[in-house]
Amino acid sequence: MIIWVTIGLSVTAMGILAVFFTAVLGWANRAFHVPVDPRIEACVEALPGANCGGCGFVGCREYAAAVVCDAEPVDRCVVGGQACAEALAAIMGVDPTPSLPYRPVVHCGAHTADRLLRAPYHGEPTCAAANLVNGVQGCTYGCLGFGDCQRACQFDAIHVIDGLATVDYTRCVGCGACARACPRNIITMAPFKAERILAVACSNKDSGKDVQRVCKVGCIGCKTCQRTCSLFTVKDNLPSIDYDAYCPDDLGDAIRAMEKCPRHRIVVVGKPSAKDLAALGDEALPDVVTPDFKTTVDDTEWRG
């Protein structure tokens, strides 16, 4: 008799438990039903789904959510290109106007020769490792030149030339991988309101005397640019450009500030101008290197 009671009790106990949990989950499924916007699913289908991060978001679903919820411009997807932009625009009912491109700007202008107090460094040849070591070079702000950004870039658009990271704006798509990879955070994404814009090529915040001790070209915080043009504001001996108020057509006093800057730290960055192209006219073209598409942005392969 006790056997039947035990079996009966355990069956009812399990039955009640199962009913209780399924009911709770069912109710929760409906009560916590997140109103998923069907457009997000449609956008995800429209996007290539390579999660390459070219749009500056971690993955396609993130970008789709941003497009639908935060009215992100539709033409950010690099891999998808124009076709994908039109598809997204169709889903969202917006006209696919090309938006303001964001491109990286390297806030350092010192090549290896310009850097003083350099110590022989035989550690791990990555910026992340060199950044941990004190005294690799005098300037603790500037570019280390070990190429973390070059490795992070999937579009072969940034190279360390003579110790300094230089952006190849013809290839750059503005995905921001180099900005994320730089351990010293001296690569920032700036809105390019024109083909070529002004930028500050230094990030050293020390006083003038210390800067001259460690770098031949570093900005000494003399505030000439701030006096000449209101576009520049100097904070901790370092000028910064207010890109919102930046308008490419009336740059009068900004250009004068650029010329008057004693250390020539205000430079023009962007696609090479006609003059640069002419200067290179006769050089032999290097063979074209096709970028290899690493699909996963973050290679933490989690296996179990």
């Binding site: 949990f21 499924n29 296996r303 179990g304």
Partner: protein
């Protein structure tokens, strides 16, 4: 890739896709019970029993699975078979059941079984599922035995109860303690990676 057949699943489970050394699954059990060989072999046998039954059961009902309740159903089936295994062990091999203690029920959350249910059983027929289960559990037992052999010989100088190292050899007590498990398994994993790198290197050259 085409879904592998029963034979392939079986062979692959033992070495090429060894659950412990290759897929890094089921580490909780691997590190915990390998301080002596007897409990390692018993754990291997228990996992074999549970994996075969669970894979068989899941592959039989695989067409009825609803997507979001899938994990709950898997855990329920596995938990039942683990309780049966635990009770059988307690009834017939009581000293082993006391030695393994809480680690038998931990087979339920052992990643190997749920992973095999997901990967193979929920998609393929019973025969392939059982073959896969056998392969994986033999691979798992081999890994456990390899780890337990190293730890028991160095830790207590015995092997399955027979004295292997001379009594004068000081026992490395650390090997039987938790840190020993981490270190031994780390080194063994490095060794297997190195061996497979060598072999891969030879094939290319």
């Amino acid at each position: 890739m085409s879904t592998p057949s029963a034979g392939q699943r079986f062979i692959r489970g033992i070495l090429p896709e060894n659950p412990v050394y290759r897929q890094m699954l089921g580490l909780c059990a691997t590190l915990a019970v390998t301080n002596n060989l007897k409990s390692a072999v018993t754990m291997g046998a228990a996992v074999l029993f549970v994996l075969v039954c669970a894979n068989l059961m899941v592959s039989l009902i695989r067409h009825l699975l609803t997507p979001h309740l899938r994990i709950v159903i898997f855990t329920l089936t596995i938990a039942t078979f683990v309780t049966v295994a635990d009770r059988l062990l307690a009834a017939f091999l009581y000293p082993m059941s006391k030695a393994l203690g809480p680690y038998i029920p931990l087979i339920i959350v052992n990643c190997i079984i749920i992973c095999r249910c997901e990967v193979c059983a929920a998609k393929q027929g019973p025969l392939t599922a059982v073959a896969d289960a056998l392969g994986q559990s033999i691979g798992f037992t081999l890994a456990l035995v390899s780890l337990a052999a190293v730890r028991e010989i160095l830790g207590t100088g015995m092997w399955f109860g027979f004295r292997v190292l001379p009594a004068a050899w000081p026992d490395w007590v650390i090997m039987v303690l938790p840190p020993g498990a981490f270190l031994t398994f780390g080194l063994l994993l490095g060794l297997t990676n190195w061996i497979s790198a060598q072999r891969a290197g030879k094939e290319e050259a």
